[in-house]
Each structure stands twice: as C-alpha cells, then as structure tokens.
C-alpha cells in the first residue's frame, strides 16, 4: 500500500514536471523570436539566492528600474544542492535568469554550460577588482560574473572564556595547538574548536594558506595536486590534534555543534568573514562574547590567509534577457548603492575595491557589536588572500570525496593524509572519465 501510494505521488510529480517542461519549451521559442526583434518593454528577471537580506537589494533595484523587474526566490537547498539542480534543469531550460554561485562551483557550471560569459554586457571590470577576485570569475579571457564578496578566513574565539583561562588568541598554528592542549586539560569537555568533515571549502581555505594549489592549468590540460606537500602539512597538523583528542571531530552545522558552540564547550571557530551572519542561528545566546582575530599563521608574522566561500551572481544559459540580467548583476556587486545594501543587509565584505571604504563598513555586524574594528580586520585579511589558481571543473566530486574520505578517517581514526590521497584519486579519475586532459 505504501509503495502504491508512493508510486502514485511519483507519477503525479512526473506529470507536472512534464507539463512544466513542455510549457517552458514553447515559451522559450516564442520569446527567442521576441528577443531577435530587439527586446523592449518591461522585462522580468528571475533570481535565485539563499542569502538572508537579499530581498532588500532586489527591492531597491526594482524601485529604480521599473523596466527591469527582478523576482527573488530562495532555492530549496543551498550550495551543491542548488548547483546540481541548475545542471539538471539546464537541459530542460527551466533555470532562473540569474543565480547565486560560490566561486568554487563556477568552473563546474561553466563546464556544464549552465552559465554564459557576460563581457559584452558589463564591459571591462578589471579596474575595480583585485587579481585574486578576478581569478575567481575569469577563465580563458571570459568573465562569468561580477565578484560579490571576499571571504578571508579568520579565527573567532570566546573572549570571556579565553580571558578567564589567561589565554591570548593564537597567532601561529603552534600556539593554536598549545592553546588547544591547555583548554582541554583544564576542562576535558571543552575544546578550542572542531575538525569538520562536511566543509571541504574550509579545509581548502586552510590548504590555500599553506601554499597549496589543488588545480592548475597549462593550455587546456588540468593538473591536479590535492595531496601536495602543503596540503599534507595541513592534514598532518590536524591529524595530530585529533589523535590527541584536542579538537572535537564532530561536523559543523549539526545540532551537536550548535549546542556546544552555544554552551561554551567549543570556544573557538576557524571560520571566515561571513561567520557573524551565521552566529545568531548557531549560538544565539552568545552575542557579543565572540571576538575575531587574524587566522593563526604557519610562520609568525606571515599574514597570508585562504578564503572560505565567497560568491558571485551569474547569468544562466537559459536566460532570455542576458543583457538585462548582466546589468543587474553589475549593479548589485559594484555600484555604490547596491554594495551598500549588501554590506548592511547581507553582511558582505565587498570584492569591489572602490566600495571597500564605504562608511557602512565602519559599523560591525550586529553579532559583533563589541568589536568596532571588525571590518578593519577583515579588510586587512582580504589584502592578504591567497587562492588556488583555479577551481577544478569537477570540484563537486572533490568536495564529495572530501566529505566521505575525511569523515571515514575521523570515524575509523586513520590518518587524514590517506584520505587526501583518495580525494586526489577520485578527482583525477573523474576528470579522465569525462575526457579532460589531465596530469597528476
């Protein structure tokens, strides 16, 4: 009975999808004809974005542009749930005009022809962005989006608890390890942080800081070096902490982690610029108690940091109004008004250089109300960002392998470096299978 019921539901869903697909198929052909004769009149763009506060920016745009109205919708899932859906829907032609894309997923969407270059609509943007931001959106001389934000990694810690233990925030990874030992020795329930096997972007950011370059290209050949020496160094460092039980092996974003973050069992978080936007849902009772400090360095005084996250808005291949869509994207991420709203409502740190001095950045995000210079710290870190040369066209496979192999290593208490080797293998195998030319 249960199976019958489920089959019935599936049939209904399929029928609806089939209808939707035919509907879109016919509308796309008719509007293509319209576009050929030159688009005029009112245009409505659909925009998918999961960031809280984005509606404010959209409202502002809609008010100023009565002819190009933007309709914001939240995707049913974030991150790769959205990207995989975009890839699947691309063939059916049902994608929105504009979509949020994190930098690491952009190459995969390009490889699957989900998004299109927008150079012809936005012109040259190289004057307003630094090299590392441009490297995230420009490939083979084409621009696939206007960079929105920079998300340098920083270290957040519970100042009240660190003070009571007589500790200062660690400036090097050696100090981090020493602090981890002190904290855990004083209270076996307390940890300086956790090692998360669900956040591959987090580990990638740490590897970037250490000097890794997971993907490089020469001509049209990809070189994959996920188990290179710098990454091995990072993996071994954390392996050591995990073996000694000095960091919690529990994944981020679980009820377990949130409870520990809120209760003071976990008193540090190696995270990134956007963390204050997440704290209210992770550890709501601790507002004002967390303070950000520069990410610990491998050698004292080295300010280099990696990034965790960061995103752009891209125009999809399904869009019938790419010119208008690109115009909106450019306004959102590089105009004074657009970026101001992003800073105030989405708590972004803008990638647009001319906007990094906005007055809006002089006030910290609400959760960090006690740290007046929060954005000064972020600006400083943003100057010293080091990223990979490029994210691979199958970073989704790499990230999935990370979550499986690192989780298994934590579960079975085996070295993380072995998991790196598996990650490398999975990534190279997948590229070869798809017919890319690969070395490494």
């Amino acid at each position: 009975m249960r199976t019958n019921l489920m089959r019935g539901t599936a049939a209904l869903t399929l029928a609806a999808t089939a209808l939707a697909m035919t509907a879109c198929g016919s509308s796309s052909s008719s509007s293509k004809a319209g576009a050929a004769s030159g688009s005029h009149g009112k245009v409505t763009l659909t925009f998918v974005n999961w960031d809280g506060g984005m509606q404010a920016a959209v409202d502002q745009w809609n008010q100023a542009n009565p002819d190009i109205q933007v309709q914001l919708s939240k995707p049913s899932g974030t991150g790769y749930t959205l990207y995989n859906k975009l890839i699947t829907n691309n063939a059916a032609g049902t994608n929105p005009d504009v979509t949020e894309v994190e930098y690491q997923a952009l190459p995969a969407l390009i490889a699957n022809k989900v998004i299109v270059p927008i150079d012809q609509y936005i012109g040259d943007i190289s004057a307003d962005f630094d090299k590392s931001s441009l490297a995230q959106v420009q490939f083979e001389g084409k621009t696939y989006g206007v960079p929105q934000n920079v998300c340098p990694m920083v270290f957040f810690y519970r100042k009240d608890i660190f003070d009571s233990l007589g500790l200062k925030p660690p400036t090097t990874w050696d100090e981090y390890a020493a602090d981890a030992a002190t904290i855990h020795a004083k209270n076996p329930k307390q940890y300086i942080g956790n090692f998360s096997a669900v956040d591959s972007g987090w580990f990638a950011g740490l590897a970037q800081q250490a000097g890794a370059n997971w993907w490089t290209t020469s001509g049209t050949t990809w070189n994959v070096a996920i188990d290179d020496a710098p990454t091995q160094k990072v993996a071994n460092y954390w392996s050591n902490l995990i073996d000694k039980g000095l960091v919690s092996p529990e994944p981020n974003w679980s009820p377990q982690w949130s409870t520990d973050m809120n209760s003071g069992n976990i008193i540090g978080w190696v995270s990134a610029q956007w963390a204050p936007n997440q704290f209210p849902s992770v550890a709501k009772d601790t507002a004002g108690k967390w303070v950000a400090a520069p990410l610990p360095a491998w050698t004292a005084g080295d300010p280099t940091v990696g990034i965790w996250g960061g995103e752009t808005e891209a125009v999809t291949a399904n869009s019938k109004h790419p010119a208008e869509a690109a115009k909106f994207v450019k306004w959102l991420n590089s105009s004074t008004e657009g970026v101001k709203t992003l800073i105030q409502q989405v708590a972004a740190f803008p990638a647009s250089l001319s906007n990094q001095n906005q007055d809006a950045l002089k006030t910290p995000p609400p959760f960090m109300s006690d740290q007046q210079d929060y954005n000064t710290l972020i600006a400083q870190a943003a100057k010293n960002v080091r990223t990979f040369q490029v994210w691979g066209p199958n970073a989704n496979v790499t990230f999935d392998a990370y979550s499986n192999d690192f989780a298994a290593a934590l579960q079975n208490k085996t070295p993380l470096s072995a998991a790196l080797t598996q990650m490398q293998q999975a990534t190279v195998d997948d590229l070869k299978k798809r017919g890319f030319s690969v070395t490494g």
């Binding site: 669900v198 290209t217 009820p255 989704n396 989780a407």
Partner: protein, 296 residues
C-alpha cells in the same frame, strides 16, 4: 462467490486502460530511457572546460563495468543488508507482538493503543530522522547519548534500523491486527473451552493462521529495506559514520546528482533493480514455501 454471468464484456479491459497507460508512461518509458542512458557517456569537448562540442557517445558496458567493479557499490549493498538484517526481523517481531497484545481478550484502551502505535507511520521519514538525530547526539540526547555512542562504526547500523523500524512498525501492526480480527472467533472459543491459555491460543492458533499475512508483511519490509535512503541521507550531515554512498540508493543519487554522471547512476540503478527483483522473487518463494508448510 458466483461466477459472473455475462462473459463477453470489455469493461475490465477498459477499466484497466488508465492504469496501463500510467504504468507505460511513468514506469516503463522512464525505465527504458534510463537503460538507454546507462549505455551512454558524456565526452568533454575542446577548451579548458570541455565546452567546445561536448558529445554524448556510446559507452558499451563501461558504466556497468564501473558499477560492478566498484568496491564501494558492494559495500553499500553490504551496509544495506546489515540494516535489513536488524530491521526486518525487528519490524515483523514487534508488529506481530503488538497486534497479538491488542487482540488479546482482556486488553483495554485498544483504540488508543492502536493509534499510538500507528502514529509514527504518519510522521514523514525526514522529520522522524531529524527527531531521532537529536535523540542520538550527545549534546541534545535525552536517552544517554553521553554514555552510548549511537554513531559508532557498529552502532550506527542499529541507529539507522531503529528509525526505519519505528516508522513502519505501526503500519505493519495494523495489517496484522486487521488480519487477526478477521480470523474466526469460534476457534479461539473452542480452544478456551479445551483449557488453552491466552498465550497458548496466541502461539498455537493465531500465529499459524497469520502465516500468509506475515509473508506479505515480510516482503513489504524487504522491499522497504532495499529502498533505504531517507534515514541515512538525513542523518549524514550530523555524523562522520555515514557517507554519501552509504547505501545503494545513496550511491545512485550521488552518481547522478552530486557527481553529475547520470549515465553511471543509470547503470547502477538498473543493476539495483535487477538485484531487487531477484531478491523479492526469491524471498517470496521461500516465504510461501514456509507458509504452506506451516499451514499443514
């Protein structure tokens, strides 16, 4: 029952048409398309991202060879079987026990108890799993998460099976209970007059008569076990013990929608269908033999 008088009517066939059309459209056609896909693969074209003229080419048995030769695929089947070995007997055992208890002569509050046991079935699988996730994690657990590691390398199988069993127990209980209520009461009265206790009636009379129903329920549970997906998928983010390829359906899903290789996903799912059909037929045959023997 009497045989119908009029024989030459087309009504049955006509009534069947909608079902057949739906079956062809939404089971056979997508299935055939999936089989077609399983023999194809995407080949990157020129350029750094392979976007210049990418092609879909015939792959022969490559996808099948990959799925068949993939150790992780067989591991995922092994894990699914482990959960089934724990979950199926528990489902059948407990639902039979509850049904017999409700059917016993002196049971009170039957209506309320039946509803209470059935209620978990009405809770969507994802919600149920989230709920159990909270119960398992040490920081939020009211049931001893500090002392018991529910997500240990071995205990995780029980943790997953528990959620699945909790969800379908009520449904199976109702099926068995309904069948129990349909048994002739005179039999029990006769047994009672012969001096049989409530327990003896349950074990010696009710249980054997339930055999056909139990067969049905077991096949349902086996199919349910093969379709294990919701529970481990929802628990995955909260623990290191569950990978994205933990059970076969997760493997198929990951192939198709995470790694974006629908071709290999199609091959793996076709393999899985073959295995599922084979397992169901085998289980059905064996159970029917057992049932027939116990009827004698």
């Amino acid at each position: 029952m009497k045989a119908p008088r009029r024989r030459h009517t087309l009504l049955p066939q006509i009534l069947l048409i909608p079902a057949v059309v739906l079956f062809l459209l939404f089971t056979v056609a997508p299935g055939a398309y999936a089989i077609y896909l399983s023999f194809m693969k995407q080949k990157a074209g020129g350029g750094l991202f392979g976007t210049d003229n990418p092609t879909t080419v015939f792959a022969g048995l490559e996808n099948y060879r990959a799925a068949f030769g993939d150790a992780e695929f067989w591991h995922s089947i092994g894990r699914m079987l482990l959960v089934a070995v724990i979950g199926v007997p528990a489902t059948i055992g407990f639902s039979t026990l509850f049904a017999l208890c409700l059917d016993a002569k002196r049971t009170r509050l039957v209506g309320f108890s039946r509803l209470a046991i059935f209620l978990p079935y009405a809770v969507p699988g994802v919600v149920a799993t989230l709920l159990w996730g909270f119960m398992y994690l040490p920081a939020t657990s009211p049931i001893g998460g500090d002392t018991i590691n529910y997500f240990g390398s071995h205990t995780v199988f029980f943790a997953v099976a528990n959620v699945a069993v909790w969800g379908v127990l009520g449904f199976n209980m109702v099926v068995i209970y309904t069948s129990l209520r349909g048994l002739p009461r005179e039999l029990f009265q006769a047994a009672e007059l012969d001096g049989a206790s409530e327990l003896q009636i349950a074990l010696r009379i009710k249980l054997p008569l339930l055999a056909p129903t139990l067969t049905l329920v077991t096949v349902f549970s086996l199919i349910g076990a093969l379709q294990l997906f919701n529970e481990p998928t929802t628990l995955k983010p909260v623990t290191n013990a569950i990978s994205s390829t933990w059970v076969p359906l997760m493997r198929v899903y990951t192939d198709a929608f995470v790694d974006n290789d629908i071709y290999r996903g199609a091959a793996a799912s076709f393999l899985l269908i073959v295995l599922t059909v084979a397992a169901t037929v085998a289980a059905n045959t064996v159970l029917r033999l057992i049932a027939r023997r116990s009827e004698r």
